[in-house]
C-alpha cells in the first residue's frame, strides 16, 4: 500500500506546482490603463482610425491605452479570458462562443463597429456557380469559430454538404488571411470565405471572382461583423473609462463616415506599419465600399449567429442563453438584454 501513499503525494505535489504556476503573474488590471485588441482588417477601421487620429487618446485623457493586433476572434476571447486585455473588437460568432463558454457572463457587448464586409471568392477559371457545385471542393475560411467560418459551415450545412472531418466531401481549411491569400494564389483551394481587405485582394490581385457578398445571404441584407466588447470585471471597475471609450467609438464612426478619403489613407499607413506591406489605394477603396461602419450591433444578426454556431456544435450541446450579453453604457450597469445607444 506504500506505493498508493507515494502516488497520492506525487499527485498532490504536481497539483500544487500547477496551481502556483497558474496563479503567478500579477494581472495588470488595476493600473490606470485600458488594453485593447483588434485585427488589421478593414472592418476594424474604428479602432485603427480612432487610435491613429488620436480620438481615443483625446477622450480618455490620462488613462493610458495599450493596443495589440491579433489575427482572429478566438485570440481576442483568449486575451479577455486570461485578463491580458480589457476591451476587444471581434466578430459576433467568436463573441457568442466565448460568452456561452464563459458560463458566468464574463464578456459584454458595448457597441457595434462594422457591418458586412465578407465575400465568397472563387478562382478566376472556376465553374462554381451554385452551392451544389461546392461538393468535393476545397474552401478556406479564417479560424474555426470565427464569423466567416460559422457562415461558411452554416452555408454548407444549409445545402446538405458536410466537411471532411464529419465524413463529408468538402475540405475546409481554417487558416489566417495572409495564408489564405498564398494558397489561393498557388491554386491549392477552389474558394475562400474571407473578410476585407483579403476578399478584394483575391479579386483584384489574383483575378478571383466574387461569387457573392455575405450580406446577400442574410434575410434583411445586413449583419453585424465587428463588435466592441469588454471584460465584465473591467466594466464594473471602470465604468467611466468604458463610457469614454464608447463615446470615442461613436465619434470615430461618425468621423469615418464624414472622412472616407482620410480613413482610407490612415488605414493604408497603419497596414504598412503593422505588416510592412503597402496596400494599393484602389484595393482599400473597393474594400471599404463593401462594408458599413456603424455603431449599431444589429442585434437580430447576433441571435442568428448564435443559432448557427449552436447548430454547428460550437456552443456545447446543452442549450445556451444570451440574456445578458449587452452592457448599458448610460447607466454603467452590466446585464442588459438589449442594446441601448
Amino acid at each position: 500500500m506504500k506505493i498508493l501513499v507515494y502516488s497520492g503525494v506525487a499527485v498532490a505535489v504536481i497539483a500544487i506546482a500547477v496551481a502556483s504556476v497558474l496563479s503567478s503573474g500579477q494581472p495588470e488590471s488595476d493600473k490606470n490603463q485600458v488594453r485593447v485588441v483588434f485585427f488589421a482588417n478593414v472592418n476594424h477601421a474604428v479602432p485603427i482610425v480612432g487610435l491613429e487620429n488620436g480620438e481615443f487618446a483625446k477622450e480618455l485623457g490620462s488613462t493610458a491605452i495599450k493596443t495589440r493586433v491579433v489575427d482572429s476572434g478566438p485570440e481576442v476571447i483568449e486575451a479577455l479570458f486570461t485578463k491580458s486585455a480589457d476591451l476587444g473588437y471581434l466578430g459576433p460568432a467568436p463573441f457568442v462562443i466565448g460568452y456561452v463558454k464563459s458560463k458566468t457572463d464574463d464578456i459584454k457587448i458595448l457597441s457595434g463597429a462594422a457591418s458586412g464586409g465578407a465575400s465568397f471568392v472563387i478562382q478566376k477559371d472556376s465553374t462554381i456557380s451554385t452551392a451544389a457545385d461546392l461538393d468535393g471542393k476545397k474552401i478556406a475560411a479564417p479560424f474555426v469559430g470565427n464569423t466567416q467560418d460559422v457562415s461558411l459551415r452554416h452555408y454548407l450545412a444549409e445545402h446538405n454538404l458536410k466537411p471532411r472531418e464529419s465524413g463529408g466531401t468538402v475540405t475546409v481549411y481554417n487558416i489566417a488571411n495572409p495564408e489564405i491569400y498564398t494558397i489561393f494564389a498557388k491554386g491549392d483551394i477552389d474558394a475562400a470565405w474571407v473578410p476585407e481587405p483579403t476578399a478584394t485582394m483575391l479579386v483584384e490581385q489574383l483575378g478571383g471572382k466574387r461569387l457573392f457578398q455575405e450580406e446577400d445571404t442574410w434575410p434583411d441584407g445586413k449583419f453585424s461583423s465587428v463588435l466592441l466588447v469588454g471584460r465584465t470585471e473591467f466594466l464594473e471597475k471602470h465604468p467611466d473609462v468604458v463610457a469614454k471609450w464608447v463615446a470615442a467609438n461613436t465619434n470615430t464612426v461618425n468621423w469615418i463616415k464624414e472622412n472616407p478619403d482620410k480613413t482610407e489613407s490612415i488605414f493604408i499607413d497603419f497596414y504598412k506599419k503593422y505588416t510592412g506591406k503597402k496596400l494599393d489605394e484602389n484595393i482599400i477603396h473597393d474594400a471599404f465600399s463593401h462594408i458599413q461602419i456603424t455603431s449599431e450591433p444589429i442585434q437580430n444578426s447576433i441571435s442568428i449567429f448564435a443559432e448557427r454556431a449552436y447548430g454547428l456544435g460550437y456552443l456545447g450541446h446543452s442549450g445556451y442563453n444570451l440574456d445578458h450579453i449587452y452592457y448599458d453604457v448610460n447607466n454603467g450597469t452590466v446585464g442588459g438584454t438589449s442594446w441601448q445607444n
Binding site: S7, A15, K101, D106, E165, S166, T171, K186
Partner: protein
C-alpha cells in the same frame, strides 16, 4: 497482469480522477479554463456520437501508418548503407545526428511551403521526425554484428542484396526494433504536431478546434485520446514485437 498490479493501476487512475474532480469542485479556477472530468467525458461522447472523433483518429492513424512505413523503409536503407559504405557514413552519416535533433514540428513550415496543406505535408513531417532514429539504430545494429558472421556468409558466396536481407538485417534486428519503437513515438508526435500547425483534419486539428472555440474540455479530451492511442499502439504492437524478437534472438 497480476491482480495486485491491476488493483494498484485502477486505484491510481481512480485517484487521479478524484483529485481532478475535487480540484474542480473547489472552484480554484473558473470552469472555462479548468473543466471537470465529467465535461471532458461529455466532449468525448459528443465527438464519438457525431463521428468526428473517429474520423479524426482514422485520419491521424492513416497518416502515422504511411509516414512510419516510409520512415522505417528509408531508415533501414540509409542505416545499412551508412554501416557498410564508408563514404556514405562519412558524408550523410555526419549530419544524421544533427538532423535527428530537429524536432519534427520544426519541419512543418517547410512542409507547408513544399506540399501545401495536404496529407503529403503532414506525412513529410512524420517521416522527417522518425526516419533518423530508425537510421541510427539500424546503423548501430549493423556495426555491432560479429564480423565473423559476415565473413562466413561472404565465403559461402553471399553478396549484395542477399547479404543484406539474409544476414545483416536479421542480425541487426534487435537493434532495429528499438529503432522502430523510438521511430514510432517520434512519428506520432510528428503527426499530432503537424496537424496542430497545419490545422487540416486529424486529432491535432480537433485539438486546435477546441482551443479556438475556447473549449478546454475538448482540448483535454483530445490529449487523452492521443495518449491512449500511444499506450495502445506501444503496448499492443511494439512491446510485443520487441518481446518476441528478444526471446527469439535469445537475448532474454
Amino acid at each position: 497482469m497480476k491482480p495486485s498490479v491491476l488493483a494498484k493501476k485502477i486505484a491510481f487512475f481512480v485517484g487521479i480522477v478524484l483529485v481532478w474532480q475535487a480540484l474542480d469542485s473547489a472552484n480554484v479556477w473558473p470552469d472555462k479554463i479548468f473543466p471537470s472530468p465529467l465535461e471532458v467525458g461529455e466532449s468525448l461522447w459528443y465527438g464519438a456520437s457525431n463521428g468526428t472523433l473517429f474520423y479524426g483518429i482514422g485520419t491521424s492513424l492513416w497518416r502515422l501508418a504511411i509516414g512510419l512505413s516510409i520512415a522505417i523503409a528509408g531508415g533501414i536503407t540509409l542505416g545499412v548503407f551508412m554501416a557498410r559504405v564508408e563514404t556514405v557514413n562519412q558524408t550523410i552519416g555526419s549530419i544524421v545526428l544533427g538532423l535527428q535533433s530537429i524536432p519534427s514540428v520544426a519541419w512543418s513550415p517547410l512542409a507547408i511551403v513544399w506540399f501545401g496543406l495536404t496529407d503529403a505535408g503532414v506525412i513529410f513531417v512524420t517521416v522527417a521526425g522518425a526516419i533518423f532514429s530508425v537510421t541510427i539504430n539500424t546503423y548501430t545494429g549493423v556495426k555491432n554484428i560479429n564480423p565473423d558472421y559476415i565473413a562466413a556468409a561472404q565465403n559461402m558466396g553471399a553478396k549484395g542484396g542477399q547479404l543484406i536481407t539474409k544476414v545483416l538485417v536479421p542480425a541487426a534486428f534487435p537493434y532495429m526494433i528499438s529503432g522502430f519503437k523510438q521511430g514510432w513515438a517520434f512519428a506520432w508526435r510528428g503527426v499530432i504536431g503537424a496537424e496542430l500547425l497545419f490545422s487540416f483534419l486529424g486529432l491535432g486539428f480537433l485539438l486546435n478546434v477546441g482551443r479556438q472555440l475556447s473549449d478546454v474540455s475538448q482540448v483535454i479530451a483530445m490529449m487523452l485520446v492521443i495518449m491512449i492511442i500511444g499506450i495502445v499502439i506501444d503496448g499492443l504492437i511494439f512491446k510485443r514485437l520487441e518481446d518476441k524478437v528478444m526471446s527469439r534472438w535469445g537475448l532474454r
